[in-house]
């Protein structure tokens, strides 16, 4: 989609480079309408090779983010780290109607290490808290965003090969019902794909919960994929993890024909007592080159909803 005509730059919250592309407006997306809406913005690092563009993204980062990015081992990982932070910052800025400069955001970690926005006391969006989560592979980086509900998102290359066998990994980390489900699949490629789907769904749940891997061990909850019922989670009733909850909803999609993406948000309908089942999670997806081009891809071949 072409960029709209330039608008007057938003008042910068921190001193920065004046004029030029740095204040080019980010295209505003439609606002998040409800708590069950998830917007995902993704970029493809292999498409972003322009040195001046990368330098511009680098300038959006905080000093400590820059330092961390440059401590990654090798150029490609460094670039991925810079693009991850640039994606988070520009995406968040869009959902404050660009009132908050991408460079202004500050982040903190919850006590388990999950990154969250550290809102300034005068921020307009404090009443409608934005939640975000990122995930990346070497070839695709995605940022999911919601309003008022924790979110977890995980992506994985569809064809990701594991060094260990699928069933040995499943036996070590998954639950018995999940192992059975995988063991029944005769074709190794199909089995590998189902493993990756389950993996991303389980990761998305753990990340949504925000309690870290050991706070929600993979072998204490089962994810079931069924064409009719969609995606269901059930927690091991014998487990000592009382804090694991089942009131979460999921979406699983094939992205860019190359990746599986799982998203997980809290299921409001169950906690509030209204409705007996899951509201369908409203998913919208954009492919982005921040400041250059945004393309709404949900509803096209680039986003194929699986469940």
């Amino acid at each position: 989609m072409p960029l709209p005509p330039p608008q007057p730059p938003p008042t910068p919250r921190t001193p920065g480079v004046a004029g030029g592309r740095l204040f080019a407006s980010l295209q505003l997306p439609p606002p998040l309408q409800s708590r069950s809406e998830v917007h995902v913005w993704y970029l493809l690092p292999d498409e972003l090779n322009d040195a001046s563009q990368l330098k511009m993204y680098m300038e959006l980062l905080s000093p400590s983010e820059r330092k961390t990015a440059l401590s990654m081992n090798g150029e490609k990982l460094q670039k991925g780290a810079v693009l991850s932070r640039a994606l988070v910052r520009t995406t968040l800025s869009r959902y404050t109607e660009c009132k908050i400069d991408p460079r202004s955001f500050e982040f903190k970690k919850n006590k388990f290490g999950k990154p969250e926005i550290l809102w300034q006391s005068d921020d307009v969006r404090m009443e409608c808290p934005l939640h975000f989560n990122i995930s990346h592979t070497s070839s695709l980086i995605a940022c999911g965003i919601t309003m008022g509900t924790p979110i977890g998102i995980d992506i994985e290359e569809k064809k990701r090969k594991t060094a260990k066998s699928i069933l040995s990994l499943a036996r070590r980390y998954f639950t018995p019902p999940e192992v059975d489900y995988l063991a029944k699949i005769p074709d190794p490629e199909a089995q590998q794909k189902e493993f990756i789907k389950l993996w991303t769904l389980k990761e998305a749940y753990v990340k949504a919960l925000g309690r870290g891997f050991s706070g929600a061990p993979f072998n204490k909850f089962s994810i079931m994929l069924a064409a009719k019922n969609g995606i269901r989670i059930s927690v091991d009733s014998n487990s000592s993890c009382d804090s694991l909850s089942e009131n979460w909803q999921f979406a699983l999609a094939e992205l860019n024909s190359s990746h599986y993406m799982a998203a997980c948000i809290e299921d409001d309908s169950r906690t509030s007592g209204s409705g007996n089942g899951q509201l369908s999670l409203g998913l919208k997806v954009w492919k982005t080159i921040p400041f250059v081009e945004d393309t709404l891809v949900s509803g096209t071949e680039a986003v194929k909803l699986i469940c």
Partner: protein, 172 residues
């Protein structure tokens, strides 16, 4: 493609192309190393890895830590003492074996340096890599790593320290 090979795994080329901002890719592995309580989770790619690195000290309550400490002092350090700070008490062969397993799992080029101080996240390990590495370590050393311990491993030497503790506990 060999069974263990990684699909589309990029092999970082130390000879940089003209595209990215120039930064040295060779990072010498030197001390001093931070004490064993853990490094906070990197703010950047951390979200992609559900393993949070807690900021509290390493929890290995399945092992009698104080008892082992005393014994480990008797292990001769097989590398120059200045290279590792006091906190890395793992045997050199453990560290080397961990480096090997990590290099294989992440399909790193031979010239890529992996040493005790290397952080898994900086090497590009995502959550699936990490669990495979943990499984590889369990198989190689005949140990069993609990989720809470696995979560606390941030560097190669964290893993090596934990392995040596578990191996010693298994023998006693």
């Amino acid at each position: 493609m060999p069974r263990g090979a990684r699909y589309a795994r990029h092999r970082p080329n130390p000879r940089r192309s003209a595209n990215f901002i120039s930064q040295p890719t060779h990072r010498p592995c030197v001390a001093p190393l931070p004490p064993l309580q853990l490094l906070p989770m990197a703010s950047i790619t951390g979200s992609a890895v559900s393993f949070a690195r807690p900021v509290k000290a390493l929890n290995i309550n399945s092992v009698s830590f104080s008892g082992l400490r005393k014994d480990n002092v008797a292990f001769p350090l097989q590398t120059a003492p200045q290279r590792f700070a006091v906190c890395c008490y793992a045997k050199k062969e453990t560290v080397d074996k961990v480096c090997d397993i990590v290099k294989k799992q992440l399909a790193l080029a031979d010239e890529q340096e992996v040493c005790a101080a290397s952080k898994f996240q900086d090497l590009g390990a995502d959550s699936l890599d990490t669990v495979e590495i943990v499984m590889g370590l369990e198989e190689a050393f005949g140990i069993s790593v609990e989720e809470s311990s696995a979560q606390s491993i941030a560097t190669v030497e964290d893993a090596a320290n934990l392995i040596d503790d578990l191996v010693a506990a298994g023998k006693s």
